[in-house]
Symmetry: C2
Subunit: 215 residues, 2 copies
Amino acid sequence: TSLVLVVQGLGLLSVILVSVWMGNYLGGFAWSEDPDRQFNYHPVFMVIGMIFLYSDSILAYRVFRNVNKLYVKILHASLHVGALIFAAVGLKAVFDFHNAKSIPNLYSLHSWIGLSTVILFGLQWVCGFVAFLFPKLSYGLRTRYMSQHVFWGLTILAMAVGAALTGIMEKAWFMNFAKDSKFKYSALPSEGVVINCLGVSIIVMAIIVFYLVTR
Amino acid sequence: TSLVLVVQGLGLLSVILVSVWMGNYLGGFAWSEDPDRQFNYHPVFMVIGMIFLYSDSILAYRVFRNVNKLYVKILHASLHVGALIFAAVGLKAVFDFHNAKSIPNLYSLHSWIGLSTVILFGLQWVCGFVAFLFPKLSYGLRTRYMSQHVFWGLTILAMAVGAALTGIMEKAWFMNFAKDSKFKYSALPSEGVVINCLGVSIIVMAIIVFYLVTR
Ligand code: HEM
Ligand code: HEM
Ligand code: HEM
Ligand code: HEM
Ligand SMILES: O=C1O[C@H]([C@@H](O)CO)C(O)=C1O
């Protein structure tokens, strides 16, 4: 349906907005030669992996209703692998940044939510693989697990949205208080509008995914 | 079931943690005579209204399965009125604080999410009242509206959780950078543990509510 297209549009919009924020306002990208700009990969890769690819993978079953179920399963599982790879690189970027700057790891609410999300996502992947692809549970067990799989799939997506929103707030306030930055959040400059629209776009997208899956 | 009791426990825990944070670490409460401490009512009242009472109201139908449906409806609607009253006072506290300090209103992602949440909650209340209590829609329309009512009821709860988490991050970083505060978030002092546990407690509680309602 057309709602699936809206999800694609909002997913793309989110990736564009987070890239503009990091690429344009916060100085662009670098790897370990410049830790501050290495950080900038973190938000971009987390949004691509844990929001955009994650949602697309969930919607695969809605879009390819008439395609051989095995192919759709493989697509669903592969998109989730893609999501996990982006997430891993995004996490590497922020841990490298912290270590390079001697900032402690895992102190914030954002980092607690974020790490739990990725771990649960990994567990869900293993359970989904074992139940539905190989070695594949019996029909009875599979149907009983299915409702749990869908529940946790949506719950972990909601957690990923929570991780993204807390991360966005955190970075916005870091820049607001950073000595070398002119960003004043309360004056709502264009950078602030980009930040808020990024959050709104992620939320609206997730709501539509929930709506499509629970119908 | 016992999960309902866990929700009560986590709801109470969240209210206690946010009260300890505001009451103990951030100087306690006052009304307009001291705007900085008037702010402190905002998180406490929002958590009581939009998280604790909201969840309890949703669970009313699960707990009172054998009670006359009309009574449960009235309880459900009244708890939601209570939630709305706490939310209104909590919003008044933060708008007063902003106005007293000449801080612009509604610039942050948190405030955008928060205000949308409360407005949608109010609309849901009106729709629920009209559909299920007075004048009451026909049986056919009521059943068709029901699945939308449940979907939006849970979606708005998720948004309230998103509002609370972004608000928590925001306040945590304000205090981290405030000149007259010794709070260093990255050293994870006891105040930081209270903050993170508040967030975790709200998230776990909401997940259990979703679980109970979707089963
Ligand atoms: C689903 C998405 C996300 C996940 C799972 C996630 C996860 C994490 C984790 C585990 C850390 C801790 C790293 C460490 O302690 O060394 C972290 C740090 C951080 N993230 Fe994210 N993140 C996500 C999205 C974002 C976004 C979108 C932003 C900003 C726009 C962001 C901003 C930050 C910042 C500023 C830090 C450093 C401060 C801290 O440790 O909290 N994150 N993230
Ligand atoms: C190898 C890994 C996986 C396999 C083989 C797998 C398999 C499946 C299958 C067979 C369905 C049922 C589709 C239907 O008939 O409606 C499904 C649905 C779903 N899966 Fe997975 N899954 C895997 C990993 C994951 C992961 C990692 C997540 C999220 C973290 C996830 C989230 C979901 C969700 C939310 C649905 C519901 C989609 C809908 O009903 O439209 N899955 N999955
Ligand atoms: C469902 C819960 C919540 C809702 C609906 C909500 C709503 C709002 C709204 C609409 C504003 C804007 C006020 C203005 O611009 O004058 C605001 C401001 C604020 N809130 Fe919340 N809030 C919630 C929970 C919390 C919590 C739990 C905290 C902190 C622990 C918090 C911290 C703040 C802070 C620091 C501000 C001022 C900065 C800003 O405007 O973003 N909020 N809140
Ligand atoms: C006057 C206002 C309201 C009335 C009369 C009303 C009525 C109802 C009724 C009849 C049900 C069906 C329970 C069942 O048979 O399973 C229900 C469920 C529900 N309502 Fe409301 N409602 C009102 C306001 C609200 C509001 C403001 C919200 C949230 C913002 C909300 C959220 C929910 C949710 C999530 C459920 C599902 C609970 C479950 O299935 O256990 N309601 N409501
Ligand atoms: O990720 C972080 O960024 C800040 C600071 O380095 C940015 O100014 C900080 O304390 C973090 O944990």
